[in-house]
């Protein structure tokens, strides 16, 4: 996606070719070549333009994302928890997305999946996509830390409230683009404070994207002098943001 914005057409062609080859029969992608399992990264691919990826490949990717959910939202797991006396049978917890199958849901993979389904919902009004999209948004709203912002997903894992992280707060605000909720209002001042204190490129990127999504990015936001872009994902997300500032927002636009 960053290369699309950078205008490197040959690299983009090679990238799409590789993605088409690497898609697994179930419609998903592994996080790297040696892993024989589809994971959350599938939602990243589902964000790419279908006309360049191929409609068929894109559709399988979207279906994989829509059909994926965390272990704790499954009937067998909930029944087991109920038998152990650890929860009620009818959970009001919205199902989110896990990093890898058969594990719990977390804010980061849920945010990426919500973004992918949100983008797809502008092309396709299927009711199952809308249902999962609503569930994902509700998961994020339910998992906000006390006082605002987001940790990885657990709000009280040890019996006391967790504190939010800048990166995950930015991701959740990005995914909640277009949503109006008290949780967002509470979290925006915190995100703006994090942005002003930010020393990490990953956090800087996601906070800017989140605040941009909510229309609250300060016009004078500037990175700290010591902030460095050290990894490919950090540089890539910065490129995507630069394009968004110029009106080419590939994450939110259809």
């Amino acid at each position: 996606m960053a290369l699309l914005d950078a205008g490197d057409s040959e690299a983009v062609r090679r990238g799409f070719r590789w993605l088409r080859t690497a898609q697994r029969p179930d419609g998903g992608w592994p996080p790297q070549a040696g892993v024989d399992e589809s994971t959350w990264v599938t939602a990243l691919v589902a964000l790419l333009p279908p006309e360049q990826l191929s409609d068929a490949v894109h559709e399988k990717a979207v279906n994989w994302v829509a059909g994926s959910s965390a272990e704790e939202s499954g009937t067998i797991f909930r029944l087991r928890q109920w038998l152990l006396g650890q929860s009620s049978l009818s959970s009001n917890q919205a199902p989110g997305w896990p990093w890898i199958p058969n594990t719990a849901a977390w804010v980061a993979p849920t945010s990426i999946a919500v973004l992918a389904l949100q983008k797809e919902s502008r092309r396709d009004s299927r009711s199952d996509l809308q249902k999962r999209l609503d569930e994902g948004r509700n998961f994020l709203l339910q998992r906000m830390c006390k006082g605002g912002g987001w940790n990885h997903g657990s709000t009280t894992p040890l019996g006391y409230p967790t504190t939010p992280y800048p990166e995950t707060t930015g991701m959740a605000l990005t995914a909640l683009h277009g949503v109006h909720a008290r949780q967002i209002d509470v979290s925006l001042p915190l995100a703006q404070r994090y942005l002003s204190e930010c020393r990490s490129a990953d956090a800087w990127n996601w906070l800017r994207l989140g605040l941009l999504a909510q229309g609250r990015l300060p016009v004078d936001a500037a990175p700290a002098a010591e902030l460095q872009f050290r990894s490919v994902p950090e540089v890539s997300l910065d490129l995507i943001l630069q394009a968004a500032f110029q009106g080419r927002n590939r994450i939110f636009a259809a």
Partner: protein, 326 residues
């Protein structure tokens, strides 16, 4: 996970540790050739550490000549003022020592479980300052290429275990953890430090797969996946109470080291005032696992009694307190 289910799991673990202790009672004592554990005084993070570490590694005749060595510190959070991360000065002291001992290749590698921005974390923890050309020797294990490992014997429910190639290619893995209490397993030391080898790039942040597979069981499986280990535990200032993140600093003034990392961890537990026979992941899982009775662990350096510094334990773990240090 809610508080109720965590207590249930703790109760279960206490039970399983108890069973393991009972099964351990019938074991024969350790052979006389068991590798020793060093307990040495290290009162502060200063230049004396370089000499102390060099002497410890020489005492153990650690053979690194011509070999690839991976140093695995414990990097957790952006808390420069706290004792949450392994001291960069200690890691550099080990780095310099193994280079002087003729190692062909030395890398420092870590894959933090909570934060994705590993290099930013390392910078905040002081690694860029303490280790010259840090970025040239550091490997973010969360993003390393991986290989699937199929353990011959597995006790956890890990379905597919992928580990970073840098760690699998190392001839010697030196675990350099912080001496800390842990709100799930009682104490986090050399063996628990191996959670940082599990690639977040595959399993995500936090490394929830390890919790689903059983925390204690996963520690045992990871330990078994790396047969050539050595441990240097940073007990100069540890963490007590609600570790490994929200605890409070606890000066213990020691380094604990050895090639039998299970025995190193058991010794650390005794220094912390914790009964290692009540730490579930330290219990024997095969006939090859040595006894952890204090009398069966050859020790060099300071005596246990002289270095014992009981760490505060959260209420849920009062039951692991060491009653009889002898």
């Amino acid at each position: 996970m809610n508080a109720q289910s965590s207590l249930t799991r703790r109760a279960w673990l206490s039970g399983s540790a108890g069973l393991a202790v009972l099964s351990g009672c019938a074991r024969k004592s350790q052979p006389a050739s068991a590798p020793p554990v060093s307990v040495v005084r290290a009162p502060a993070y200063d230049q004396r550490l370089y000499d102390t570490v060099r002497r410890v590694l020489q005492d153990h005749r650690l053979n690194v000549r011509g070999r690839r060595v991976l140093l695995k510190p414990n990097l957790v959070e952006f808390e420069p003022a706290s004792t949450i991360n392994t001291s960069p000065l200690l890691v550099h002291a080990v780095y310099e020592a193994v280079r002087q001992m003729g190692a062909a290749e030395v890398h420092i590698g870590e894959g933090p479980g909570h934060r994705r921005n590993t290099l930013d974390l390392a910078e905040a923890a002081g690694y860029f300052q303490a280790v010259p050309k840090f970025e040239d020797v550091f490997v973010d294990l969360n993003l390393d290429a991986v290989t699937r490992v199929r353990p011959s014997r597995q006790v956890s429910h890990i379905q597919k275990l992928y580990l970073p190639n840098t760690a699998l290619a190392a001839d010697v893995l030196i675990s350099i953890p912080k001496m800390k209490t842990h709100h799930w397993v009682g104490a986090t030391l050399s063996m628990k430090n191996l959670f940082g080898l599990v690639p977040g790039g595959v399993y995500g942040w936090p490394k929830n797969m390890l919790h689903w597979a059983g925390i204690n069981e996963s520690i045992i499986d990871l330990h078994a996946a790396f047969p050539r280990q050595f441990a240097v535990v940073d007990g100069i200032i540890g963490m007590e109470g609600n570790g490994p993140i929200q605890g409070t600093p606890k000066p213990a003034g020691v380094l604990v080291a050895g090639r039998d990392v299970r025995a190193v961890d058991a010794t650390c537990c005794r220094i912390m005032g914790i009964d290692p026979l009540k730490i579930a992941y330290l219990q024997p899982t095969s006939a090859n696992d040595a006894s952890l009775l204090a009398s069966d662990i050859p020790q060099i350096g300071e005596t246990l009694i002289s270095t014992m510094t009981p760490f505060e334990l959260i209420p849920e773990f009062q039951g692991i307190r060491l009653v009889n240090p002898a």
